[in-house]
Amino acid sequence: MVDIRRISTNRWWHKKNNWGLFIFLLFLFFVRISKGSLYKDFYYLISKPFWPGQFQREVLTKSVEQEFLIRLKQVEKDNKRLREILSLQRLSDSESISANVISRKTGSFWRQIILNKGTKDGVEIGSFVVGPGGLLGRVDNASLLTSTVKLLTSPESKVGVWVERIQMHGLLVGSGNDYPKVIFYNKDIDIKVGDFVLSSPASTLLPPNIPIGIIQSVDEEFKSKKTANILLLGKPQAIDWVQILKVEI
């Protein structure tokens, strides 16, 4: 009787140390199974106050921006050289002219803006105008002190465009409202909402690859044509400052 009681009190689970060891082994097993996720999360919490600060992020962002700028300059140089070889339209080397919008008619059928720079400042008819977002239109008329820009939304505006993803040309036609349309003379093209529209590399009026807008909706095909509505990136109704750029012919 005495022996039985001694044996039962000596069982391993009656010892505190053994339980501690068991829990530790269980913990190790969990760490192994979870591949240390608990440790990683714990490290996340305790290291958070010592993470690289805003300053370091800015320094890195600046470096990356500079790298991109250098690359962009190089690509522009290459592009200019190649376009010269192919005798295609290109931007003038001279600086662009900054101008202020002094009058805007962006509603109804008359869609134009008037800028505070004219022939006195070197503005020429046919120069194109870009604002934050992209292309706005072309200078249609210039007086000594002002120039009038026909917007892309004007019913008389027609511009050759290029859809980058599908590598297809189209014709951007102003329809008298805020959403000009692109006509594709091929009904089988795979145009999708969200595709970027740029100025056409083959255009004789505009320099190539200037951002214009995004495809907003695609209409039903009609007589072997497909049309799509464009959401313009440049908003003439809100822009106060623009750049007038010359095109070298």
């Binding site: 009058s103 059928f109 008298g176």
Partner: protein, 178 residues
Amino acid sequence: MRNYIKKKISLISFLFIPIIYFWDPSWLKFLGVQPYWPLFWLLPWSMIYGPFDGLIIGLILGLILDSLSVDSSFTQIPGLIFCGLWFGKLSISKYSFEEHLRFGLICSIASFFCGSLYFFQILIKYWSDHVIFLYLTSIQNIFAQVFITGLLAPLLCSLLLKLFQTSKGRDKLTNFID
């Protein structure tokens, strides 16, 4: 000076039409469309001076506004000539609440007529390209303009009619036109 301005008020206000056309205040727009400004001046002026003067001044207004617009293929002249002629045939009645509303209604109809004429010019020009359906969405412009023109007309036309009636510069302006 005050008397001089009073005499020439119709001519001075006429010179302000292109300025307002350029100014295009954004807070006076409906669906991005501004009122058809020339009608506010043309209606009271033609009502006072008659249909022939109305026709001539409609032509002059059209020529000025066309030269301010970059759309060289379309014109506002036919609409404004017709409106000048029509407005000249309307009689001036006593100032009353109905008279103000009448101005609104007349300007709305005239705005609809001018807008439709302009729209049909666009349709006719692009008829052969088989892309006229692209321009159908701009019908909204006509109706927005009709609404905002009709809304402002009672106020502005009544004010200008009063000013023109009190002005003594009629002879000068008609001599200038003739």
